[in-house]
Subunit: 426 residues, 2 copies
């Protein structure tokens, strides 16, 4: 832990710096994998499953039978929880739909926007230790609400050639069209080019390791869009004197357990809360199954004591955290001071886990300072907003002169002529 | 011109292909320019002005005096036109503001989104033959409406070290904070890193040549966001028997005059309109000042005769044009069939020039097929949408079990504990 007591503003610039991530030389490997998948399709994916995931897969498509079996393996209790989460996520994302609003900017000139779903979207769900079925909900629910025609999901198989049952259950529940057993850069390549089984998609969503991140970056060269640039997960907690140190510690640790590169920042105005939160972290970490990862993450974490909450908010805006928790009494007073954050949790009972799983907000959020210029995933991420306009004859008569003058001043006479020829015809 | 009469659907895949752009080897040059600007700041920019734009600039900042002089050089007529365009663009983009809508997903669990402006944005306006002051309006007006704190603009100086007066006038009118004389990749580098004069920005907008496009791509490595990927401008016109061939031809040419790589597609169900539009294009092109560029663009253009309007729309969705004109009587009937397009112009009097300049919609739109997965610039492009949530004690009691079960199933016990510790405290 790095402890800072009343750091001067001059020093903040260094305090908000993220550790520079090792830029591993993986681009040659990514290019190779993309070439191979483009050339050999499903066959390449089956070989990569063997090579990278030690899995023998005859086919990469998950069958209806596998999904039905998976459903039997998920407990009723967990099913109910997933259904509740789905309901809340649906409710919040459905509220993001916008009515069409036609605006008459001048008499006879009417402009509006209409949403159209991105036709085919791909969701990547990592394998490994934690089966992230919650991310299936966060991506498939809004994709479905948006009306995407095809929602496909790729996830690496385990050694027995299976995908975790909870992932299959959630995918099926949330309207995923097809599920495929392929992971890493090869899954991203497959969704980019398409294979015999996997359709090429227009946009790729989802988290992943450094290979997946690099592959998503690379895929953009081929016209595919991605959800957002990626980085390690982060939380910044701001606490005042009424904050509960045990709660703050639990929130900090829930971020720290994600991985050794997780970023954790704690800022308070209260010396007692400061020292007690540090103690609570040290105590709670002992009982965590993932405490090694958490301990590594905490090494890079910052605990900052400041004079005023305004100062804490200013620091937070400079840091631009993915998750921001305001464990303060008067949080409403401070909302307007928040400039840069992915998602904000207000008060003592809004723990980050709530948004991670089930309150309704999306957990796919900008990290690594990207909260300064990116939004998290929302319904908007799955649609294009197309502008429409209709000019009546009268409308063009009203606006025509303006267009002609501007086009001429830009030296674009064909642009001018498209108006003149219509006005002359009257 | 490429003429296709009733092409079979099998052949469409080839017809909608954009010409593959030569991937020139410019990345080494871009890296060099970024390094130089990072190291030497303003001094490097002044040298690049000399080297690339043959301009001697003592300072890269445009002074208040220069802006005032520019205002005198713009005719009152043009000023009025620009003001009218600004008014319409403001009206349409202001309508895109969304009210905060708090959603109680469960009793005691309240979620909502709030917009926050991207703090510092940079607008790039190319120099060259056409002074694109209309693009200043399209980017500065929504930036200003969104509440961006700093809106800076970079544009290359002419040989006398000046920026076109209409650009300066429009920038000043639309609330641009500061204007700088620098162009090309070096301008993008300056907005990425900041120099003594130019502040580093969070997001870069605007069109440019291949160096600017490559530099914007490159800038993203340093955490800067960009408006969207770029490609040559395009229009697709769909016409029925009541369409006016002279109008269609004028619209096609207004796209073609942009540059030799512009994409122009005409589709009709009517043989008379087909042949007459082709004749009208050949006739109208003669009188255009930029007819050499237009003629080059037309070489790659397609004129397609089809059996039904539904087929035309299906073709258009596959092509995903930046601009789509429906020069058809019953356009309302076909709106719901449009899946992929940047901006749509309805009827015989909605020429593309209207949206290019002054109707109110934005002219910064996805090209090169990106209309399948990107939207054009809007107010949304200048804000981040931050999610907020508040759980009362009761709210967490209602949702807690769901979160605990899901966290445990994902093997994330610290996430579970953040809930349990709060519920136990009750």
């Amino acid at each position: 832990m790095k402890i800072y007591r009343y750091p001067t503003k001059d020093s903040w610039k260094d305090l908000v710096k993220r550790p520079v991530l090792e830029q591993k030389e993986i681009s040659a490997l990514i290019t190779e994998i993309f070439t191979e998948v483009k050339k050999n399709g499903d066959k390449a994916l089956i070989e990569f499953n063997h090579k990278f995931d030690k899995a023998d897969t005859q086919s990469i498509s998950v069958t209806r039978e596998e999904i039905e079996n998976a459903e039997k393996q998920v407990s009723d209790e967990l099913k109910k929880a997933v259904q509740q989460a789905k309901e809340n996520i649906s409710k919040f994302h459905a509220s993001q739909k916008q009515e069409i609003q036609k605006i008459e900017t001048m008499k006879g000139v009417v402009c509006w926007r209409e949403n159209r779903a991105v036709e085919r979207v791909g969701i990547y769900i990592p394998g490994g230790t934690a089966p992230l079925f919650s991310t299936v909900l966060m991506l498939a629910v809004p994709a479905n609400l948006a009306g995407c025609k095809e929602i496909i999901l790729c996830s690496p198989p385990d050694k027995n050639g299976n995908i975790n049952p909870a992932i299959l259950y959630a995918a099926n529940l949330c309207g995923v069209s097809e599920i495929f057993k392929t992971g890493g850069a090869q899954a991203v390549a497959a969704m980019t080019f398409g294979t015999e089984s996997i359709p090429a998609v227009n946009k790729i969503f989802g988290p992943g390791n450094q290979f997946v991140v690099a592959a998503k970056e690379y895929a953009q060269r081929y016209g595919v869009a991605i959800d957002m640039p990626a980085g390690p997960s982060e939380v910044l907690v701001i606490a005042d004197e009424q904050a509960v140190p045990e709660f703050c510690a639990a929130d900090l640790l829930s971020q720290a357990e994600h991985g050794s590169d997780s970023q954790v920042v704690f800022i308070t105005t209260d010396l007692k809360v400061f020292t007690e939160t540090i103690s609570a972290v040290e105590q709670q970490i002992r009982d965590l199954p993932r405490n090694e990862l958490a301990a590594q993450a905490l090494e890079n974490s910052s605990f900052v004591l400041v004079n005023a909450l305004e100062e804490a908010l200013e620091f937070s805006n400079l840091y631009a955290p993915e998750h921001l928790i305001l464990a303060i009494a008067d949080f409403e007073k401070y909302i307007s001071l928040i400039e840069n954050a992915g998602s904000v949790f207000l008060g003592n009972y809004s723990c980050e886990s709530a948004g991670d799983y089930a309150s309704g907000t999306n957990h796919t959020l900008p990290t690594n300072g990207y909260a300064k210029n990116y939004s998290g995933v929302s319904l908007d991420s799955f649609v294009k907003k197309i502008t429409f306009q209709h000019l009546s004859k009268e409308g063009l008569q009203n606006l025509g002169k303006t267009i002609e003058l501007m086009a001429e001043a830009e030296g674009l006479f064909a642009h001018k002529n498209a108006v003149s020829i219509r006005l002359e015809k009257n």
